[in-house]
């Protein structure tokens, strides 16, 4: 009834090719953005920000990054944790070397540095595919973690090998370090997430994205119709690593504040981001958000229900978390192999006809 194209006339090409062609969708998008920017910062608690919103926003960026590489370009990567570490350490080195430069720029530069590293590790993708490429990126994961542990220049020769985020301001408000307000860190990460999502969405709709998808669907056919595989694959690695680097920088500087590479950016990190895009939906920006929300919120929700409401022992709840999250992933993938994004697509189809399906 409300969710339909009928009656919504487009009078220009720009209107015709917008992200949300349906009026209802468009207003919903504006509404969510308005709530996120204008309402949530005022009702935020430390707990909500630090255990739900920050990890959600930051993982969403990482998931978008990996989705570009794996979902859109079809290159499987298990190096996400390592590339996040590059972002984090780049951000740390920049923050301590140039304390007067705005942290916003540092985060973007950290993304840029990660893009370069990612492109370098993307070179094998020109020769190998599938599982073999996964193993090559796995090597990147282990190599990068080893590197940041081994070379003490990366952690400024501190005795413990930990990196700590010093205090940095945006418009006079601290967003990293100890004296941050919940709303400030939230808005800082939200800005990056929205920016990344818009860029990613538009890249994937344009010619670059179409080249990626052509490579994903059949690389030989794509080459025959004139897609340059070198350019397509390497841009996918670069753009993907750029986003992953930003998320790593935010993960370290804003969310955790202190990082030890082996523990925070280990192989589990690569897997959890991969799970996010598989559950959320490969090749979908919305899916990246949905997957990140699913894997961030579910454990916290289970903990709150188990420990705080039912009063169960913490170890039993922790074990149950593993069981329930694992079972849900399996059930989800059996019921809907294309992830949460596909569920959303089906819902939209149904909504168009609602309430008169015949």
């Amino acid at each position: 009834m409300f969710y339909r194209e009928a009656g919504d006339f487009k009078t220009s090409y720009v209107d015709d090719s917008q992200t949300f062609p349906i009026k209802f969708d468009r207003y919903r998008y504006y509404f969510v953005l308005a709530v996120a920017v204008l309402v949530l910062p005022f009702v935020m608690t430390d707990y909500a920000v630090n255990s739900i919103f920050l990890p959600f926003l930051i993982y969403a960026i990482a998931a978008i990054g990996l989705n570009i590489l794996t979902g859109y370009c079809g290159q499987v990567s298990l190096g996400t944790g390592g590339f996040m570490a590059v972002g984090a350490y780049a951000c740390y080195k920049l923050m301590t070397a140039f304390p007067d430069v705005n942290i916003f720029i540092h985060v973007l530069l950290a993304g840029g540095i990660t893009a370069m590293v990612g492109t370098a590790f993307g070179l094998p993708s020109l020769r190998i595919k599938g599982f073999y490429l996964a193993v090559a990126t796995l090597a990147a994961q282990f190599f990068l973690v080893w590197l940041f542990n081994k070379v003490s220049w990366f952690y400024n020769y501190s005795a413990s090998g930990q990196i700590n985020a010093p205090e940095r301001m945006v418009f006079g408000v601290p967003v990293t370090g100890a004296n941050t307000e919940a709303w400030a860190t939230y808005l800082f990460c939200l800005a990056f997430t929205v920016l990344c999502a818009i860029i990613a969405r538009n890249l994937t709709r344009g010619s670059v994205g179409r080249e990626w998808m052509a490579i994903r669907d059949m690389d030989i056919a794509a080459e025959i119709i004139g897609v340059n595989p070198l350019k397509a694959k390497l841009t996918a690695f670069a753009v993907s690593s750029f986003f992953v680097g930003i998320s790593g920088a935010l993960f370290f500087a804003v969310y955790l504040g202190a990082v030890e590479v082996g523990e925070v950016f280990g192989i589990q990190k690569s897997f959890i981001v991969l799970f996010m895009i598989i559950i959320g939906g490969l090749g979908s920006i919305f899916g990246s958000f949905a997957g990140a929300a699913f894997l961030v919120v579910l454990p916290v929700a289970l903990k709150i229900v188990g420990v705080d409401m039912l009063g169960w022992p913490t170890d039993i709840v922790a074990h149950f978390q593993l069981v329930i999250v694992g079972a849900l992933i399996i059930i989800f993938l059996i019921a809907e192999p294309h992830g949460l994004a596909q569920l959303w697509r089906v819902t939209k189809e149904k909504l168009r006809l609602w309430p008169f399906p015949h």
Binding site: N50, A159, S160, N164, G177, G262, V300, V305, D308, P313
Partner: protein, 425 residues
């Protein structure tokens, strides 16, 4: 979906709400994951001591203590979640039992005016209270441990020209002693080799192959969790003489040596507190906690090394809370008052005897300049046939000449990096 769950989460928090009428001691424990073998006994000891105080004395100064447990699985992200979810309940002091989580919490807790007690772990240079106003690591730290091990070896014979290998957990925790051991090697002329083991340490074949090839005279280990058991087993496999194998206090519990059976006989570990269950307090724990069915966890850890350490940590926290009550003349103390109580804490032998722990730990006093305590280190040895640890040395002083400049340098670097005004509050 996020919004709904977040609202549900917030509603749940409000429903749980702060109950002001008790003293809250959060326990960031880990009863799951590769480090659970260390996390469980410590958490049990920590909880049981407060249960004992509540049951026997009606709490601390008449106010009941409440332990809020939160599972971290030794994971820093979960640690942050635990910190945020418990701090709203009026948490008095954090003891995360993880060097990684401690590093995370140091700036956060300092900004929130909540003290941290990282007993025998965490950032060693926190011993300098002029920089780390809210962090305490009395009565001993990692660098005391490193120096204590070297001192012990020197007591056994000349170590100049000997080879010492450090097998360490490749993390902030394991890297802590490297600098001290390097300085000491210059001073005493031994040769140090570094052998890192990556998290979680289940696979150490290559490391022990290297030890077998290099034939060091002594091996010092900074390990935790499953890494310890594997290392002791591997050492037994290459027939490394156990009496030349020394673990830090986090590598010296029953769980670490029992899997290797008789082969672990003679393995040594450092300690900063007493071992065994021959202290009067354990009778009280039996009557007031165990017999009433209130023991934490499975109740099977009582008297083990790490249980005792949890008990000791809880005892020091309770004494500091009591001290804070006396200083500020109020029963319901805040975290800020708790900090004062910790900074002016004095533990005497008479007080420990009164508590049923005679000779369990050193008598010491904390001050703004020294948050680290006296750093007295003893040595324990494992007897595989009796299945018990015994103290084989006195609690001895460590090399302050080497450690103090390192503490000052590292804390000064931290103060610089974070624009902290050095000085007492």
């Amino acid at each position: 979906m996020t919004l709904k769950l977040a609202t549900a989460a917030m509603a749940a928090l409000m429903a749980a709400g702060p109950v002001m009428a008790d003293l809250v001691f959060p326990s960031l424990s880990y009863r799951t994951g590769p480090y659970a073998s260390g996390g469980i006994p410590f958490a049990d000891g920590y909880a049981d001591y407060f249960t004992l105080l509540n049951e026997r004395d009606g709490g601390i100064g008449g106010v009941p203590a409440r332990v809020v447990e939160c599972e971290t699985a030794y994971n820093t992200e979960r640690g942050v979640e635990c910190y945020e979810s418990t701090k709203g309940e009026g948490a008095l002091v954090y003891q995360p039992l993880s060097t990684g989580i401690t590093y995370q919490l140091i700036p956060k807790a300092t900004a929130d005016d909540i003290p941290i007690h990282s007993m025998g772990y965490g950032r060693t240079s926190a011993a300098n209270g002029q920089v780390f106003s809210h962090v305490f690591n009395y009565p001993a730290n990692y660098w005391n441990g490193a120096s204590g091990a070297i001192n012990y070896l020197m007591g056994q014979g000349d170590i100049a020209g000997k080879k010492i290998a450090l097998v360490y957990h490749n993390s902030a925790y394991g890297k802590e002693p490297i600098r001290t051991l390097e300085e000491l090697s210059e001073k005493h002329g031994y040769e140090l080799s570094l052998i890192p083991v990556d998290h979680p340490g289940q696979e150490q074949k290559s490391q022990w192959l290297q030890i077998r090839r290099d034939r060091p005279d002594f091996v010092i280990m900074y390990g935790w969790g499953v890494m310890n058991q594997v290392a002791v087993q591997e050492a037994a496999n290459i027939r490394f003489p156990m009496e030349n194998f020394i673990g830090i206090w986090w590598s010296g519990s029953e769980n670490d040596v029992l899997p290797a059976g008789d082969a672990a006989n003679g393995y040594k570990a450092l300690t900063f507190h007493g071992v065994g269950s021959e202290f009067p307090i354990f009778e009280d724990i039996q009557t007031h906690v165990v017999d009433k069915g209130l023991a934490a966890g499975a109740g099977d850890q009582i008297g083990t090394v790490l249980y005792n350490r949890g008990l000791y940590a809880a005892m020091l926290a309770a004494e500091a809370a009591k001290n804070a009550q006396d200083i500020h003349g109020t029963d319901e103390i805040t975290p800020a008052m708790m900090r004062d109580g910790m900074e002016q804490l004095e533990i005497t032998e008479a007080r420990m005897t009164e508590l049923g722990l005679p000779g369990f730990g050193p008598s010491f006093s904390v001050s703004c300049d020294n948050h680290g305590g006296p750093g007295l280190i003893g040595m324990t040895q494992w007897d595989a046939s009796a299945k018990e640890w015994t103290l084989i040395s006195e609690f001895a002083n460590t090399d302050v000449e080497v450690i103090q400049p390192l503490i000052e340098a590292d804390s000064a670097a931290y103060a610089d990096e974070n624009n902290i005004e050095v000085g007492c509050k």
